[in-house]
Symmetry: C2
Subunit: 277 residues, 2 copies
């Protein structure tokens, strides 16, 4: 189809709407409805089950903030795992860190990887990097089988519906803790405080029971519900708020800065209350 | 009308859409199209010329961030002016500061004040406070006629179209400087960096030519374009970034905190670049 407006209902009574120049691909995969479209405002976009996953115009925010916050917090992140993230954006950011020797991506849906390479080439640009191991598989199972293996784990999942439902459980966070080394760090996207306050509360509560250092940070993502996106960070040892200035090295970013690394954890009052801070 | 979806096109190709339970009031005033509606997601809302001005659910962000940042930066804000802001939200926040002896509100459109009192009572709640002087008039003229009078001036205007077009000019900022006392501070909303980067650049450039301390800060407002709203602060003497902890007194807020007061000035890289920082 071509020349229509797509509307994502972000809640029952509110949504965003955008002009689509043309649909690039539509397919019901084994896991979800995958759609790629060229939009007039945001460039090419990926939708899963009717929800915006990423756009060429604003993708840098999400991908930079998932990757750089834990990677600059950990003193020597050599072995990194990404669960989900088949579009490759988080991997692209991870590759900006020379200390990372290996980044493993486990996405359950190979079609996301395939069509991201085709229609989102600037996002998927590092998926062929020799330091990257791309696996099509169940991230939940991958985590369950790993032990004392990763320095950093990033959960780049969809919302807790469909294939990602297991990725928002306490059992999963316990598995992540086991899969991490003794000073490991994990980050997961955890939706927004305006429409899903209970989810944020629950995730914070669950992660706090497992990780001694649990923190919430936010970033502005205009195509995501409310524009205020939350990330939960769980860490066994290293605190993102006490990273020394010397640890930051120069990287090319459009959103992340070393100052924002810390400011992103300073929450609006109502979000702070949700996080139980 | 009742039971329809209202869509605001925030750009030519992108917008937000929301369920409206019923229209409360529609009127072409002498200055703009004024609409009040009861929405399912955001409570009662005010629209001017088809643009969201404020909603009961998220209004606290804008109003707190306009008011408290300059009021906690200024050591003794006794005389405050609000240009625009007829809904009364900024005034309500100003009244939380006991040092303020008088707050003058000058809105060009008396109908905004009238219907905000009627349909947004929790926002307009302090307009009858004896410390508040409500005037229906031209803010541009009011500023032009004032000299060495105000400690803080807040410009709570619509976008630079219609009646607010004069409020985004260098002449206006020069007038504000003249209207302020020798250690005065002003704040103006200045749109968003995703869709109006040139406006932000221009306002920053203009204000810098007049105020020795010029800063940009942001807040998340879900019903405003991109969710990332910018505020420009111009100050003759006091720097919002060096406010001492002792100056903050307890106030009841849902967004602003003394930590966020400073963190709000830490900008994403691409916004920092627009601000010329």
């Amino acid at each position: 189809m071509a020349g229509f407006w797509f509307t994502e209902k972000q809640t029952e009574n509110f949504g965003i709407t955008m002009k689509v120049n043309r649909t690039l691909h539509t397919e019901q995969t084994d896991f979800q409805l995958l759609e790629m479209a060229e939009t007039a405002e945001w460039g090419n976009m990926l939708f899963l089950d009717g929800m915006v996953m990423t756009s060429e115009k604003d993708e840098f925010v999400y991908h930079e903030m998932v990757a750089h916050v834990p990677l600059f917090t950990h003193p020597n992140p050599e072995n990194v795992l990404v669960v989900g993230g088949g579009d490759g954006g988080v991997i692209r950011e991870i590759m900006k860190h020379p200390q990372v020797k290996k980044a493993t991506l486990v996405d359950i849906d190979g079609k996301v990887i395939e069509y991201s390479k085709k229609y989102l080439p600037t996002i998927a640009s590092e998926l062929e990097n020799p330091r990257v191991d791309v696996q099509v598989g169940d991230g939940f199972m991958h985590i369950a089988e790993a032990e004392n293996q990763y320095d950093v784990i990033m959960v780049d999942s969809t919302e807790p519906v469909g294939p990602a439902v297991n990725l928002f459980t306490k059992g999963f966070y316990a598995g992540i803790s086991k899969a991490l080394k003794e000073d490991g760090i994990f980050v997961a996207q955890s939706d927004n405080p305006w429409f899903t306050p209970d989810l944020i509360k629950q995730v914070q509560k669950d992660v706090k029971e497992i990780f001694p250092i649990t923190r919430l940070y936010t970033a502005n993502i205009p195509t995501y519900p409310s524009g205020l996106w939350c990330f939960t960070l769980g860490s066994k040892k290293h605190d993102p708020l006490t990273v020394e200035d010397a640890r930051f090295h120069e990287i090319d970013t459009k959103y992340y800065t070393k100052e924002l690394h810390k400011a992103a954890f300073v929450l609006p009052k109502f979000v702070k209350d949700l996080a139980g801070e």
